[in-house]
């Protein structure tokens, strides 16, 4: 197990290095530079700035010096937020995005699994159709539509929750819902189809033949076998939700990380582009690692370990 973890850590480093390299050269391939948006700027000033940030050096030189800084976990300064380094941006904004993401994920998993399970158990009934209509709506309505809708109904009309901004738990309810619904719908559909498949398996008939109650059959024998694919998509889903999303955070004026993914590219804010990308990748790879460990815990046929061990 320890060997497995070490090997995965090694792979994490290699993965991140590949991502850093690709991102680094890709972003420099975008025309323009960090200061081309500032309007007319005296040549001398610009040259000074470029020199200050080391942008006057050749690309390979910049690449090597970035990698060196990276090994010290220094993601560099932000060219635009003059007071914050990239490390500060992540430290200040990630907790907000993460909290929002965890709540969204909780909503998505709880309701997704429940909805999918109920739909499968009441296959082809009104309940099934209702659940699947909800799921299809959830998948097809983008959160750019859903979020204003939620605000209009629950904040403006009913006044239950604050319209926007960040602070108390009440502030988190609507954005977490807006963020979680799509994932919930995906999970619900996946759960339903897997439940239907497992319910048709021979071992479910065996469980019934033992005289177990419907609840025991579903809880002990069906859900555990049906939930594997849901666990699989949980890796990328966690990474996507935890690191923040541009749209929802903008609509609810939440000081999360989402906006930096988009704005940094527009601004050619190279260190922020690289920093957020690396961070996102690290979260994704870690989440996938946890998923792999979870496989081994849930399905005994899958042994976590190194080949030949």
């Amino acid at each position: 197990m320890l060997k497995f973890i070490l090997r995965r850590l090694g792979m994490l480093v290699v993965t991140l290095w590949v991502i850093v390299t690709l991102t680094f050269f890709l972003m420099h391939a975008i025309p323009g530079d960090p200061f081309s948006k500032e309007g007319r700027m005296p040549e001398a000033t610009k040259e000074n700035l470029m020199k200050y940030y080391g942008l006057d050096k050749s690309l390979p030189e910049q690449y090597v010096s970035y990698l060196i800084k990276l090994t010290k976990f220094d993601l560099g300064p932000s060219y635009f937020s003059k007071t914050q380094s990239v490390n500060d941006i992540i430290a200040n904004n990630f907790p907000v995005s993460a909290r929002l993401g965890i709540q969204a994920l909780t909503i998505a998993v709880m309701f997704g699994v429940a909805l999918g399970t109920v739909a499968a158990l009441k296959h082809n009934s009104a309940l099934d159709y209702t659940a699947m209509v909800i799921a299809v709506l959830g998948v097809s309505v983008p959160n750019i539509v859903l979020a204003p809708l939620l605000i209009n109904v629950f904040s403006v009309k009913l006044g239950w929750f604050p319209i926007a901004r960040w602070g108390t738990f009440a502030h988190t309810v609507l954005p977490a819902t807006a963020l979680g619904v799509q994932a919930m719908a995906v999970i619900a559909r996946l759960m339903r189809s897997n439940m239907l498949e497992v319910l048709g398996q021979d071992y479910i008939r065996t469980a019934r033949a033992k005289g177990l109650s419907q609840f025991a059959v579903v809880w002990r024998h069906t859900i555990r076998n049906a939930i594997m694919p849901v666990i699989t998509i949980l890796g990328p889903l966690t990474a996507a939700l935890l690191t923040g999303t541009f749209v929802v955070e903008q609509i609810f004026a939440i000081p999360g990380m989402g906006k930096y993914f988009v704005k940094s590219v527009n601004n050619r804010d190279y260190p922020v582009i690289l920093g957020t990308t690396i961070f996102y990748s690290a979260v994704l790879v870690t989440a996938n690692f946890l998923v792999d460990v979870a496989y081994g815990l849930i399905d005994p046929r899958i042994k976590v370990g190194v080949r030949g061990e």
């Binding site: 071992y203 033949a209 005289g211 177990l212 555990r224 076998n225 399905d299 046929r301």
Partner: protein, 342 residues
């Protein structure tokens, strides 16, 4: 007091599909005496498995519906029980094993837990008591080193061992009746014999009644005392093992016996019954076997023959039994290969 553990009377089961009503079982009547092993034989689709699963009420509903009949087990009609009453019968008074041991065990649960589940539910044992019983059960069905095996998962068991584990599950609560639905079909021939021997052993030890569903007449001869022959959802002949093997009356039974491959038939083609069973969406009005029957008469087309009793125990549905029917020669050496050995 009756000596019958199970009486099935006029059972009719249908499946409501988009194409229409599939009449899988059309009036099946038979019984199982205490301590007796009854074999139900017939081709695929003849209704054997549906009959056995109907007794346990494991027919998925929808689409399955019980149209008519009674299933009297130990004095009560199972079809009148509600869900929770039926749960108390399943696994407790009636145990069941299935055809494919590779898929009949839950892959994510240890074998021990799967045996213990029924014990906890039906006998009120706590977890550790139930696990001890699970170890005993595994030992009973001949699994070596049961203390370690009980903690293993099904994928760590071979096919034969899984079927033994299935038998351990089915017998864990000491049921009065064991239903075995093609328990040997998915196994190697050598393992088949072991499983049948095990079932015979346990039947002797506990006096469990057995219904064995099979299309393997070798298994029938080995295990059963009585045989029920089904065709197209109906019982067309039933009787003692000797009746069926040495004095078969129905042309379909003749066909079945003739289809058994024999060692002394070297160089000859395997015998088979020409044609296929009828479509149960629209079953024939008369005898379902007449299109494939060498002795079919006009009366067979539209009228299903009444039961004829050869003896009290040996019953057959065939127009050849009618006094006006032509006498035919039985086209097989009576008793097949076994007879010559006698």
């Amino acid at each position: 007091m009756t000596d019958k553990i199970l009486e099935v009377k006029d059972l009719e089961v249908s499946f409501l599909t988009y194409a229409g009503e599939v009449k899988a079982i059309r009036g099946v009547t038979f019984d199982v005496k205490k301590g007796e092993a009854v074999a139900i034989v017939g081709e695929s689709g003849s209704g054997k498995s549906v009959t056995s699963q109907s007794i346990m009420q494991l027919i998925p509903s929808p689409p399955g519906v019980y149209k008519n009949g009674e299933i009297i087990f130990d004095g009560q009609d199972l079809l009148n029980l509600n869900n929770s009453e039926m749960e108390k019968v399943r696994g407790s008074s009636i145990g069941m094993i299935f055809q494919d041991p590779m898929t009949s065990l839950n892959p994510t649960m240890t074998v021990g837990k799967q045996i213990a589940e029924g014990l906890i539910k039906h006998q009120g044992l706590n977890k550790s008591e139930a696990m001890e019983r699970a170890v005993e059960m595994l030992r009973l069905v001949g699994i070596p080193n049961p203390e370690a095996r009980v903690k293993q998962y099904p994928h760590e068991f071979s096919g034969g061992m899984r079927q033994r584990a299935m038998i351990a599950i089915a017998l864990s609560c000491n049921p009065k009746l064991l239903i075995a639905d093609e328990p040997t079909t998915a196994l190697d021939v050598t393992i088949q014999a072991q499983i049948i021997d095990l079932m015979k052993d346990l039947q002797n030890k506990f006096g469990t009644s057995i219904i064995i569903i099979t299309h393997d007449l070798g298994v029938v001869a080995d295990l059963a005392q009585r045989v029920v022959v089904m065709y197209a959802g109906k019982i067309i002949e039933q009787g003692s093992l000797d009746d069926i093997f040495y004095n078969p009356q129905h042309p379909y039974t003749w066909g079945l016996l003739r289809s058994v491959p024999r060692l002394d038939s070297k160089g000859q083609r395997l015998e088979s019954i020409e044609g296929t069973p009828p479509d149960l969406l629209d079953p024939p009005k008369g005898c379902p076997f007449y299109p494939r029957c060498d002795y079919a008469m006009e009366v067979c087309v539209n009228h299903f023959p009444e039961e004829t009793k050869i003896t009290d125990d040996h019953k057959v549905h065939c127009w050849l039994q009618h006094p006006d029917a032509p006498k035919v020669d039985v086209p097989i050496k009576i008793g097949g290969a076994n007879n010559e050995a006698k």
